[in-house]
Symmetry: C2
Subunit: 248 residues, 2 copies
């Protein structure tokens, strides 16, 4: 039986403070939750509608979590979606641990990317291009914010991430760092090696001054019109696409 207290508890996970305290987060919608249930995340509760239960009985029977059949309005009252006719699941956050990077591997590093929608979209892009590791400055958006999870369209479950002091990380690394600048070498003329870090800066200020000395390749996406800049997720995608194109 799903108690009012449990519902209240799940709803509290909309707030960062409670996610941090409880080390739990929630995931909404069929696409995101089915990806979650097939991942290595530890799921604690699943709330689902009759229809979702019928369509996903095998998946639901295979997991250890508490499962509750609920109404659509219950889902909408605890989650962040205005409309949710399928499912919401609660899972344990992964601990923030350092991650390594081999010399033939790619990672994305984000220097204070603040907008949760941008972070979620970048996670989806990384997953599309087969980049599994993400380094985040400590001021970047929070990985388990519902807007991040939603925008990632399930890809959050496949990405390794680490919040870290990027300056210290770069100091210790001898991997090439490809940074997005408005005044760099054209990406069309740039060679990407076998591995390295793609560094993207803050939405308003770009890459911070203190990280600039570590950028081994300053790269620009050529502009043909008049927009002042590109959205950071869009620029990340173009970097990944050019990196893959130039490496095949």
């Amino acid at each position: 039986m799903l108690s009012k207290n449990t519902l209240k508890f799940i709803k509290s996970l909309q707030q960062k403070k409670f996610r941090k305290q409880e080390q739990l987060f929630f995931v909404e919608g069929g696409k995101n939750v089915t990806e979650l249930l097939q991942s290595d995340y530890e799921v604690t509760q699943v709330l689902f509608t009759t229809q979702f239960g019928k369509d996903n009985s095998v998946l639901l029977n295979a997991i250890k979590a508490e499962i509750f059949e609920v109404s659509q309005s219950t889902l909408e009252s605890v989650g962040s979606f205005q409309s949710n006719d399928s499912v919401l699941a609660v899972a344990k956050c992964k601990p923030n641990i350092p991650i390594g990077l081999a010399s033939d591997e790619w990672a994305i590093a984000l220097d204070d990317v603040k907008d949760p929608g941008n972070l979620g979209t970048i996670i989806r892009i990384a997953d599309w291009y087969g980049i599994q590791k993400l380094f985040l400055s400590e001021e970047s958006a929070e990985f388990y914010n519902p807007k991040v999870v939603n925008a990632s369209m399930g890809s959050f479950s496949r990405i390794m991430f680490s919040y870290t002091d990027l300056k210290k990380l770069f100091e210790k690394s001898d991997l090439p760092i490809y940074g997005a600048y408005l005044e760099g070498k054209s990406i069309y003329d740039s060679k990407f090696g076998k591995g390295g870090i793609i560094l993207m800066g803050n939405e308003s200020n770009g890459i911070s001054k203190e990280l600039e000395p570590y950028v081994s390749h300053k790269i620009t996406i050529p502009r043909f019109g008049h927009a002042e800049s590109l959205n950071v997720a869009v620029a990340t995608a173009i970097f990944c696409d050019n990196m893959k194109r130039n490496s095949i």
Copy 2:
């Protein structure tokens, strides 16, 4: 003197119904409004804070619109921004008229792209890549929705657009149409000509069946990881980038 009725009227432009009826829309924030004031849009009113007025006196003196110095809280009470310490302007919508396309020109066509943030981001991308023309199916998001205007970061003021029946448009056109499909020819192996139309589909369903026969080039962005798809604005950017790269 700025009356309560005028404030109420501007606030009503948050709703599509009133934008359609009055053929007016509003623009918020310093970046978007300064671009608006330098465009060929007819601006009717500008509400600004003391600071914005000081920083932009030349621009404000040069326009014909009614101008009002207001408090930050007034700006926030009429507009869609939670926080706006600079400016909001009202301007006349442009009429929806057919636009032509020369054989050496590029345009983007959107088949029911519904999300205003996606449309705004696509407008910014088009403007970055020097694509000035946008064809929108009648079910696509509304160009003058505040979320579209905001996400465009001022680029809305430089893009020509037309809501039209895409099927009829394509029937009459002999330009190449490059459509984004999950199962097409790799974009890395595709040649783009001197002009044509880049066609992007709906967020959930892609390009509709009825438009498929008109697509002369079915093109895919290669996937290296596990995400099921890319966001439509991200995919548009990768198309534009590859088109420009292959044409220089």
